[in-house]
Symmetry: C2
Subunit: 425 residues, 2 copies
């Protein structure tokens, strides 16, 4: 098989004609496929059904005797803090257990900073004129949407195989007090699948922000979501911060949305004791407490970090073949044509496909016309604007394996067609 980049005009024209016919043939078969979001497949949700069958009496009280059914415990039950502390390698005193959505905790953390300020800051972010937020790209569209919603200038930071370009991060953070934060998905990054190197984590911990109220939003969404034998190792950011005395600079987030239920999990905000105390007071005005019964459900079902790891092996067995399916097809159909590169993640929910410039929007549109919904092109970039229009987020988990096979076949043909259209222009 010849790389498209090595073909002459005539060869490209012939290939375009052939691939267009392939595409039209696929399009002629009605189908409704969805690879748009990083959602667990129903078989993954089935893994946690026993959590809904726990003895009701076991859910009524916490270990120390607090009535979980009544108001109170705004920062969470002790046992649920202990569970998350075990998973994240922290102490329970560093944990606030939230409701069902860690995105909600992140949004609320930005809101509190805007309206009320953060620990150690001289005044609320919202009283300091135009603000900036660093966005490693490609990244998670919902992160960027939060800071876009509140009018931050979003600054693209290239995400390298080792993590964000730390030279650029350092330059921005250390010179400009308007830079208030940075989004990070440090392990199995959404969508690149890369994990920050120890050096990157240490460089983040060593930042000396120009602002006295800068915060790293460390969304450790995929902390236990490896699906290969070899799990990426992420340095504990708080260990790195302790060496620098910068523990107050980081908010870590996680949730069980992709461990138990996307629709009914438990979320967590982890931070220094200074931050936790400061936020707990603010949060006490917002709510009398989050759902403690659901916290107990998770504790009884998952037990501890070892229990979580054992449970995640069951997810891995479902997820791994799907990534193999996608990567296998890309290796067979795209690699020889030389028109794209992609990551080979050991965990997480995504493959980031980087095609030729100017092909992503077209490829997504071609797939849509033929019955396959992909994440909109541009989504992994602030304001949905991919400067090169070449990144497509592939989310293999939600479809069944047989649906996925069809989807990937179609995707590869569409990607080749989009590339050929550009190359023959």
């Amino acid at each position: 098989m010849k790389s498209y980049l090595d073909m002459d005009k005539k060869e490209l024209a012939a290939e375009l004609e052939a691939v267009r016919m392939q595409y039209e043939a696929l399009k002629a078969v009605p189908r409704k496929l969805d690879m748009s979001r990083g959602k667990p497949n129903p078989t993954q949700l089935d893994l946690s059904m026993d959590m809904l069958a726990l003895d009701p009496a076991s859910l009524a009280h916490t270990a120390k005797g607090t009535d979980a059914r009544n108001y109170g415990e705004p920062t969470g039950t002790e046992e649920c803090k202990a569970l998350f502390a075990d998973v994240l390698g922290l102490e329970p005193k560093n944990i606030i257990v939230g409701g069902q959505s860690s995105l909600n905790l992140m949004y609320d953390s930005v809101v509190r900073a805007l309206l009320l300020g953060v620990y150690g800051g001289s005044k609320p972010w919202g009283q300091q004129g135009p603000l900036k937020f660093l966005c490693p790209v490609p990244g998670y569209d919902r992160h960027f949407a939060i800071t876009a919603e509140f009018g931050f200038e979003l600054i693209n930071i290239p995400l390298l195989p080792t993590g964000p370009d730390m030279d650029m991060v350092k330059k921005y953070v250390e010179s400009d007090p308007a830079v208030k934060g940075m989004w990070c998905v440090p392990k199995y990054s959404n969508p690149s699948g890369i994990t920050y190197s120890d050096e990157t984590v240490r460089a983040i911990a060593a930042l000396k922000p120009a602002a006295d109220d800068f915060r790293v939003f460390w969304d450790n969404a995929y902390c236990v979501h490896g699906f290969e034998e070899q799990d990426d190792a992420l340095l504990n950011i708080f260990d790195a911060c302790r060496e620098q005395g910068s523990e107050d600079m980081v908010y870590e987030f996680a949730s069980t949305s992709k461990i138990t239920f996307g629709g009914a999990g438990v979320s967590v905000l982890a931070a220094s004791e200074n931050n936790i105390k400061f936020i707990a007071r603010q949060m006490g005005v917002q709510t009398i407490g989050h759902d403690k019964i659901n916290q107990l459900r998770h504790v009884h079902f998952l037990k501890d970090a070892a229990g979580v790891r054992a449970h995640m092996k069951k997810h891995a067995a479902i997820v791994r073949p799907k990534f193999q399916c996608v990567l296998g097809a890309l290796d067979a159909e795209i690699a020889p044509r030389g028109i794209a590169k992609w990551n080979r993640p050991h965990g997480g929910y995504f493959v980031a496909y980087e095609g030729l410039p100017g092909t992503a929007t077209r490829c997504v549109a071609l797939c849509k016309e033929a019955g396959l919904v992909l994440t909109p092109a541009g989504a992994p970039f602030p304001h949905g604007k991919d400067p090169q229009d070449n990144v497509i987020r592939i989310a293999p988990t939600f479809p069944s394996l047989s649906e996925l096979e069809q989807a990937v076949e179609l995707f590869c043909v569409a990607a080749r067609l989009a590339a050929l259209e550009v190359l023959t222009k």
Copy 2:
């Protein structure tokens, strides 16, 4: 028994001496009683234990087939919207189902208005200089705390037996564009227990605010919480608004916190379609959805408005004797002394005790010294400042009946002592 107000100096001195001895005798017995918060008693929580024993399979999917365990449905499941619509006399299109805390929905509604603005408003509240919020008093401390947190000037509005003093409300709302909202607990008000009259509800609906972004925060927390045969009737505010074309002016809130579990219920925001669409978009940036499994639990357990009413009769059977205990003691021990007045609510969670000016703080302190925790004096007023220092919120539900009998005996003696100290000064 002679009223203290009719006693001469000598009689008062003798009574003071006698009551002080009574108080010291009570104080000598160690006890630990709590009437501080409007929390359900564990026996009330036991009423909903079957909700935790539902067939797991029945919780996995909504009626229309959406997987409740996965992400999505940010405004709530259709069946849970229908349940709340039935209870509140609205349409499902007027409902957003939230997480576990309606206070959280209120806080977030204030936040969104501050940072992003409300439907029909020309700009966010937070960009309009100093802001004011109307606070009918006595009222709910956690309401006032939200608007205090964000720096609103809180304006006390007397709460009459018919609801807020509408002459004063009208004056403020219609003349001052800095007045952005008003807190209301329209049925079985916290803590007075009064229900707004139809005339008051119509007067609120007929307000012509000076601000284009004024909102009534209609916290219908006790909408189904009558415990007497005779349930107060509250006019549906949206019916009244429809006559005035002012539907966009009202946010209604409710929850199942005092129907099922204070620690694991479901909350609701009800509003006009304009508001719902506007808020749903904003909320879509904050979260991918609230806990749909818990929504289904509530739907399967409560079923519909009739089911809710039947369930609330079980609560009433537990709550009614407690209010009778409190009111009986006040009738016997306080009424003849002429030193206070109080409401006789048909529902809700509180009795508001209005003693002689300058006695509330002292009475609460006397109770505390003798082992009974009450809501802090002043709590029902903005910034905890009761201008007359005479209102005490009594919350009879949390203690058992036998604890309550002890608590109320102590309270009456402390209240008499505090009154006598003032009268003999």
